[in-house]
């Protein structure tokens, strides 16, 4: 097995562009409303209530946000565990995006914690409740954010020419990578397990003890999908040579993961005898089928070799997959969750502004990092100006 010698270089280029300016402007309302949230309380800016206590700050920013940040996890599994080093060139952009996604997901948790100054209780033995699913999530994500920083560290050390330190870090990198595969497997599954204790308030189409398996598999699928999605956009946006053949191969892996997910999903419904509920007209069953249709579209495109080799189709499949798994999270926490009679939740404008601001900040930070740090592979002609 001969390994391609890889080298990376910062993309350089201008930091102030129409795209980065728009992204920066989108963070401004978020900053304003965040200030209000911390001065006047959560009720001043959000539509959260005592029926639907978790809104988009949890479901979008944390649940979907960290699942979007599973690229590093999914690729590490492929590259280091299944020993597929041909995918290694995709690793650095994925780790960078994952680090930003998880760091901001962690920050979003603070926004949603009413008594945020007590956050450290989650990590303190005297307070910790090991029976709580959220305890596992909190501890695991906190550690994983540091692991992602260590995974990103070689890029930064390389940038500043600290090769001795990089060599030193590389000696223990195997342990870091192993933890980087283990921890997301743990907390991404727990993000699903959190629903179990909510019991009968969650519609039977979504309430199952297989939630951890379904959540971790779909997070993995989102990881591969985001690698394709982000790879395509970066390729176009930064005018890099197309990586389509490699991304198409990721697409084939993704196809199998999604297929496995669908099989488990329907086998579970059939086993619990609730499949007929999917055919009863209603909000939950409608959303269920929209979700399944999006999954099915992704699988169909990805299993047909001629289709998945077309960049546009591959991109559509990845987008469809991301939409499907995001919808799965939205459906299980919002649509399938019964907040009580006459209680409705729809996010307020300030609430949405904060979510949009966090996402914009994340993309902005990604653009800046890849322009300043050696994240993308250097392709032939040096871009150094």
């Amino acid at each position: 097995m001969s390994l391609a010698h890889e080298s990376y270089a910062p993309l350089r280029g201008r930091l102030v562009t129409p795209v980065t300016v728009i992204l920066a402007l989108l963070t401004l309302p978020a900053a304003w409303f965040l200030l209000q949230r911390f001065i006047y309380g959560m009720g001043a800016v959000s539509n959260l209530n005592n029926g639907q206590a978790w809104g988009i700050w949890i479901v979008f920013d944390v649940l979907i946000g960290t699942a979007f940040a599973c690229g590093g996890y999914a690729l590490a599994l492929l590259v280091y565990i299944f020993n597929r080093h041909e995918y290694h060139p995709l690793m650095r952009p994925a780790v960078t995006a994952s680090m930003l996604g998880y760091a901001l997901g962690g920050a979003a948790v603070i926004v949603d914690l009413g008594r945020w100054w007590n956050f450290w209780h989650l990590l303190w033995p005297g307070y910790a409740n090991v029976n709580s699913v959220m305890f596992e999530v909190g501890v695991c994500i906190t550690i994983y954010i540091f692991i992602l920083m260590l995974e990103f560290a070689p890029i930064a050390l390389e940038r500043f020419g600290l090769m001795k330190w990089k060599k030193l870090l590389n000696k223990v990198m195997f342990a870091v990578i192993a933890l980087g595969v283990l921890l997301p497997s743990m907390h991404q599954s727990s993000l699903g397990s959190m629903l179990i204790v909510m019991g009968g308030q969650v519609h039977p189409l979504y309430q199952t003890v297989l939630l951890p398996l379904l959540y971790v598999l779909s997070a993995l699928a989102m990881g591969y999908a985001i690698v394709i999605f982000e790879g395509t956009i970066s390729g176009e946006g930064f005018r890099l040579p197309r990586e389509t053949p490699l991304l198409a191969k990721v697409g084939r892996v993704l196809a199998w993961v999604v297929l496995a997910w669908l099989v488990i999903r329907f086998a579970d419904l059939a086993w619990r005898g609730v499949l007929p509920l999917a055919f009863q007209p209603g909000r939950v069953s409608t959303m269920f089928w929209i979700e399944i249709a999006l999954y099915a579209m992704a699988v169909l495109i990805l299993f047909i070799p001629t289709l998945r080799k077309i960049p546009c189709m591959l991109f559509i499949a990845a987008a469809s997959m991301l939409a499907a798994a995001s919808l799965y999270r939205i459906d299980s926490y919002f649509v399938a969750y019964n907040p009580g009679d006459q209680i409705h939740y729809f996010p307020s404008i300030p609430e949405m502004s904060i979510t949009i601001g966090i996402a914009s900040f994340e993309i902005l930070a990604f653009i800046i990092l890849v322009r300043l740090f050696p994240v993308f592979p250097a392709h032939g002609k040096s871009k150094a100006a």
Binding site: S7, N50, A53, H88, R115, L122, N131, V181, S189
Partner: protein, 332 residues
């Protein structure tokens, strides 16, 4: 070439077998947990919808006992119109109305009252959900309490409670609290007990040891509709119980709500109208806390599986990671 595909597969299978054998060995560690059982000195309430006149003395009494602001001045406390639980109302009386409500405790063209306050579950979801032990169930008396000092304000308890009890104060930035009935356990030291039961004129809400309340509930269900019966008001275990006047035995539904719901609760309810029509949720007998904790401890008990998985992963990455990173190193 450091790793062939074959040796790699062999290793994957090897670590898989290790995990599988550990799974069998570890089985007793991660035993399924059943429902929890009633604490030895469990106290609670018995609420009999048929004895409730909807006077709402308990709603006001609760607010006073817990230092909550009254929604109307004391002179007009009878006008209190708190319809739902909120951070300043830990107990409300709600009303069931059907058609032209011309008779009490009748499902059709009738009306009935019911009490909404913490059920003090035997195996509470909120206690299982809370990541920082802010919600606790007393091992002796079983009262489910909330701690201001521990709480991080994540509101998992609000999402988890099948009875929709805990109420978070969204309007506060610097001290948003979770509010729920604690059976007035802060008054016990003064020899007092739950204000709702203390002020209830008819004995519809009765305080006492759960076992005594359960016995009393069963006694009422065994009575013949139309006959007369007397009971006590206030607390059932008083030295000199206050006897009520004689009531007519209603057409009780032959079910004690809270006997099995969610694995049982320390608040028991009787009614002549179907409990679900009153707005009380159907909650299965196997507690959801026990299911959640069984899943969680099967995966994480003593971190056995994560440790094995980490060892397996490191055995693989020890080779694979070094290969890549060294190659990379040569380049630079």
């Amino acid at each position: 070439m450091s790793i062939t595909r074959r040796s790699f597969l062999a290793r994957i299978l090897g670590s898989g077998a290790a995990v599988a054998s550990a799974a069998t060995a570890g089985a007793p560690v991660a035993e399924a947990r059943g429902n929890k059982t009633l604490p030895p000195k469990a106290v609670g309430l018995l609420y009999d919808s048929t004895l409730c006149t909807g006077c709402k003395a308990c709603v006001v009494g609760c607010k006073i006992a817990n230092g909550k602001p009254l929604s109307t001045p004391m002179e007009t406390a009878y006008l209190d119109d708190t319809k739902e639980l909120n951070p300043d109302a830990l107990n409300v009386i709600q009303m069931y109305v059907n058609g032209t409500p011309s008779a009490k405790d009748r499902e059709e063209n009738g009306f009935a009252f019911f009490k909404h306050s913490c059920m003090h579950c035997v195996d509470p979801s909120c206690v299982s959900a809370c990541p920082v032990q802010a919600l606790q169930k007393d091992a002796e008396n079983g009262v489910v309490t909330w701690s201001r000092d521990a709480c991080i304000g994540c509101r998992y308890c609000v999402m988890a409670c099948a009875f929709r009890i805990p109420k978070f104060r969204y309007t506060s930035a610097f001290d948003p609290d979770i509010n729920k009935c604690q059976l007035c356990n802060h008054l016990w030291a003064e020899g007092k007990y739950s204000a709702c039961a203390y002020v209830c004129p008819t004995g519809a809400t009765l305080y006492g040891p759960v076992e005594m309340l359960h016995k009393e509930a069963k006694r009422r269900l065994s009575l013949k509709p139309g006959e007369k019966f007397r009971t006590v008001r206030g607390r059932i275990d008083a030295k000199k119980p206050q006897r009520t006047r004689a009531y007519t035995v209603p057409n009780y539904k032959q079910h004690i709500y809270g006997e099995t719901e969610g694995g049982g609760t320390q608040m028991l309810m009787l009614s002549a109208v179907d409990f679900h029509k009153l707005g009380l949720p159907k909650v299965q007998r196997r507690s959801w806390a026990s299911i959640s904790e069984t899943v969680q401890h099967t995966l994480y008990s003593y971190l056995v599986f994560p440790a094995i998985a980490l060892a397996g992963l490191m055995a693989i990455t020890y080779r694979t990671a070094r290969v890549t990173e060294d190659e990379e190193g040569e380049e630079t």
